[in-house]
Amino acid sequence: MSLSTQTDSRANAPATSAEIDASCRAPVLFLFTSAALWLVAAAAIGLIASLKMHQPLLLVRGAELTYGRVLAAASNAFLFGFAAQAILGVTLWMLSRLGGTPLVAPLVALLGAVVWNLAVTAGVGGILAGDSSGYEGFEFPGYAVPALLIAYTFIALCALATYFQRRERESYVSQWYLLAALFALPWAYLTVHSLLLVDPVRGVAQAAINLWAVAVLREIWLGGSALAVIFYLVPKLLNRPLHNRGYALLGFWMLLILGGWTGLYEGAPLPLWMVKLGGFASLLMIFPLFVVAWNLHATANGQVVLGAECRVLRFAGFGLFAYLTATLVMAMNPLVSAALQFTHYTAAVKHVAFYGAFSMAMFAAIYHIVPRLAGTDWPCENPMKWHFTLASAGVLLVALPLAVGGWKQGMGLLDPSVDFNQISRTALMPIRVSTLGEILWLAGSLLLVGNLVRLLARRFCPCAALAAWVESNGGAR
């Protein structure tokens, strides 16, 4: 559909970037800052878990810090503390910018974000206190969930209202992915909450629901949001139009239809047709993957950018590369799962998807968006450069050793004559190396918080001259 030529009245003309950024400022900066803080918390707790994997005698006096609880706390802090808030921040800003309309009801979104943080705190605390729900990926105890969903509704309604009021008629790929993500999370969580916690279904149907919900989170919520950011930044920073909208649509719908099926694995105690269909869907994921890769490749067409935006693009590029790798490897899962399903190999692939693909794309978005909201540039580029170096090295140092260790573990498990403890021990060295990766990642996350704090301190110090200067420069979109 093309833009209708002259029907737009003056009132419907797109708002200026400055207006839009001003409307987004409070909620989005709050979401990003608290996301970064949760990222540090998740990384710190994750580091404890990683240490405990090879130092089982560390911190064993209290129940709160036992390995299983720490692991679940770290992953939920990452998913709902960092990921959810980063995605929501990106969603609010991008839907406003791409729709050419100021954010609707920013204070409602801000209120939602505050409640969200309280709910996540209760959830993570609940896990450490032993109230975990027992469902992987959704371990928050039942009492934290209603507040979580209500807070989400506040923010999501603002996003939806903004989308429905948009003044740019033509919609863009990033908007589709973000809207899908906006619905996918509450759908998955509501399903888990009502069918597993409030009134649990019986038996192994629970596992099917859990596997579905985890796959939806991974593929559509995290993966889709990462793609939204990449599809936004690559054409924008390279100053080139998206290569082909039709292919983007194809990739989008295929991801939505296939995504939820990809959590199943060979040998699960579920009906065979389900497992087979799941494996088939995993293999089919190659197609949306290929379409996305090719579309972005044709869009970029060998362009290079320099300067600050180049750093942003580097995060996005790493994210894209990791996304393609992780999705490709996951698509191959039906072929290797007999040997590797329950080993560190699966953990390595998940790490690439969550940290290499999703997180790096979100860092790109944060580094791109925050200066626009604050109306001032990053004080200094070096910390951003260091964040990139530490984060990418961290991802690789966790994923590669775990993949190798998992491979060895899988090969060992295939041979019943090899003693199990022997197998666990061969994986110890790679796990030690992965701890190093976790340390680098934590350092990178601290840098992100430091960067944000420095920028915000500079912007919001009570200095009139600076503020005036900022206002006059806020218009650059």
Partner: protein
């Protein structure tokens, strides 16, 4: 795609395909599974857990033992490794809630630990300090499930029977499991899925393809 309601509707439609397949349909196919009578033994399988074992499941959930242990036996090498006499199927889990299949095997599969390790004291000592019974184990110690105290006039009947060198270190003291530890062991003892089922017979006849779960409600000799 420029029509917002159409886009939203499309997203719902696309997401609901996998939702129907993996959330609604399993309910229809498996939601009505009931315990069945095992032909060979005449026993009803599975039977509900005792109250103590049920409490133990709660301890298992709270401490997320599933972070390192699966409870699912796949056909093939899992069976060769001795983790079960047959693969596990939907019938095995009908009394579990939450169902804790697990997704990582840093430790061995526990679907049949109740058939494999029947010594309560072994379990307790293992939980107290895994390295006392499994050399260089990377399983964490769960000593917060135990209390350590001086042996009084009347030694506790529940006190751990430790291996000799360890007992010497604790001379004059005893390690007594708390209620949670006893419940957890009762739960571990209850974990066994080795009853021969119609859809998952014990692999006496070699090379039969592991039966699938097609419509177990109609095919299996379900009890009325």
């Amino acid at each position: 795609m420029n029509q917002a309601p159409l886009l939203v509707f499309g997203i719902f439609a696309a997401l609901s395909t996998s939702w129907f397949g993996l959330v609604v349909w399993p309910q229809i196919q498996l939601g009505a599974l009931k315990p069945v009578e095992i032909e060979e033994t005449g026993q009803i399988y599975p039977s509900a857990r005792s109250g103590l074992a049920q409490q133990g499941a709660d301890v298992y959930r709270a401490n997320n033992c599933a972070a390192c242990h699966t409870q699912q036996v796949r056909p093939g090498t899992d069976i060769a490794r001795g983790w079960g006499a047959r693969r596990t199927v939907a019938q095995d889990y009908i009394f579990d809630s939450p169902v804790m299949l697990g997704s990582s095997r840093i430790g061995p599969d526990l679907a049949n630990i109740g058939a494999r390790q029947i010594d309560d004291n072994w379990h307790l000592v293992h939980l107290y300090k895994p390295r006392l019974v499994a050399e260089k184990s990377v399983m964490p110690s769960y000593r917060f499930l135990f209390t350590k105290g001086a042996i009084g006039a009347k030694p506790s009947p529940n006190a751990l029977k430790l291996p000799p060198e360890e007992a010497q270190r604790f001379a004059g003291h005893e390690i007594v499991p708390k209620a949670d530890a006893l419940a957890l062991v009762a739960y571990l003892r209850s974990l066994r899925s080795d009853a021969p089922l119609f859809e998952a017979p014990l692999p006496a006849k070699p090379k039969t393809k592991p039966a699938t779960l097609s419509a177990p409600t109609t095919n299996s000799p379900a009890k009325k």
